[in-house]
């Protein structure tokens, strides 16, 4: 199975994502420069974290017009699996592949720390290896993670179980105190209606290996592989 990791000017988590899929999960990984216009042969695409185009104008606003994004949209519209992490999430929002926008954190600070998120929907292609309500410890690192959308859209994504991760306490209580950035309804990650595009602010690639002290994030990548079928997974997951 081949996973594509898109590299924008200013991406800086691209190699971490490559490492997780290639070295930890034994998959083929192709790094895709943002000028590419074809995603042929890929099973899934990762939009990694970083500061594409220096976050100029708005986070993700310029990256969404990179040549590769036309191909990412077409890939997603055909049902291809797309995950956007942090800046990748911001790009998915600007590109309209997910609803809503990111505002500046209410504290105005860049926040870099471990947080707890609750898996609100475990029946997805990104969370099938988690239990419903499971709490994952995954770090965040962003200045613009304050998710916002209009009340009608918010009602829609909640009703449709598209809110996948919410900030919570270590024992899974979703409270205002656990909201690091002012995000609406403690939202940390959402999915599109078709279930093949996920955006999340936490960085699972930074918590995917025990040597880093925590491998909760690995469950998200494993879920993606699992969604392609267990038999393929078993043949590929040597040493995972």
């Amino acid at each position: 199975m081949k996973i594509g990791v898109v590299v924008f000017p200013g991406s800086n988590c691209d190699h971490d994502c490559q490492y997780v899929f290639k070295d930890l999960l034994r998959q083929h990984v192709e790094m895709i420069w943002h000028k590419e216009t074809s995603l042929a042969g890929l099973a899934a695409v990762v939009l990694p974290g970083g500061f594409s185009y220096g976050d100029y104008l708005r986070t993700g606003a310029i990256a969404r017009f990179s040549p590769v994004m036309g191909a990412v949209k077409a890939f997603a519209n055909k049902g291809g699996l797309v995950i956007g992490i942090c800046n990748g999430f911001q790009i998915l929002l600007e590109a309209g592949l997910l609803p809503g926008v990111m505002l500046r954190n209410t504290s105005l600070n860049f926040i870099c720390k471990d947080v707890y998120v609750k898996v609100e929907n475990a029946a997805t292609r990104f969370t099938n290896r988690c239990a419903s309500g499971q709490v994952l410890k995954i770090p965040i690192a962003h200045a613009d993670g304050n998710y916002y959308t209009d009340p009608v859209t918010l009602g829609g994504i909640k009703a449709n179980a598209q809110v996948i991760f919410r900030y919570c306490t270590a024992d899974g209580k979703v409270t205002p105190e656990t909201n690091p950035n002012g995000s609406l309804d403690n939202i940390a990650g959402i999915m599109n209606a078709d279930g093949n595009v996920l955006g999340l602010m936490p960085h699972p690639e930074r918590s995917a290996e025990s040597i880093l002290g925590n491998e909760d994030g690995r469950l998200i990548f494993l879920s993606m592989l699992t969604s392609f079928g267990a038999s393929e997974l078993q043949s590929k997951l040597v040493g995972a």
Binding site: E94, G100, R104, T106, S107, L108, Y148, T149
Partner: protein, 79 residues
């Protein structure tokens, strides 16, 4: 023609930068300062002599890229 473009947060959208500046103004003694909102100002030279055509182009620039109309309003003047 030169377009002078202002992009501002819509009413009701929380503006933490504006709030921080408002508090700083207050601490400097500007007790009458209220409702500070931070926006963006951009200048664009548009290679077009027809004002109506230039206006249409600037409008499209704002809609497509310069403003995120979910949270931002824009206005512009052409000179």
């Amino acid at each position: 023609m030169k377009a002078k473009i202002h992009v501002t947060l819509k009413q009701g959208i929380l503006d933490p930068q504006g709030k921080a500046i408002e508090h700083a103004l207050d601490s400097l003694g500007f007790k009458n300062a209220a409702n500070v909102r931070v926006g963006k100002y951009m200048e664009v030279d548009v290679n077009e002599t027809d004002a109506a055509k230039a206006a249409e182009q600037v409008k499209q620039m704002c809609e497509k890229l310069l403003a995120n109309t979910v949270i931002e309003d824009y206005r512009y003047e052409l000179q």
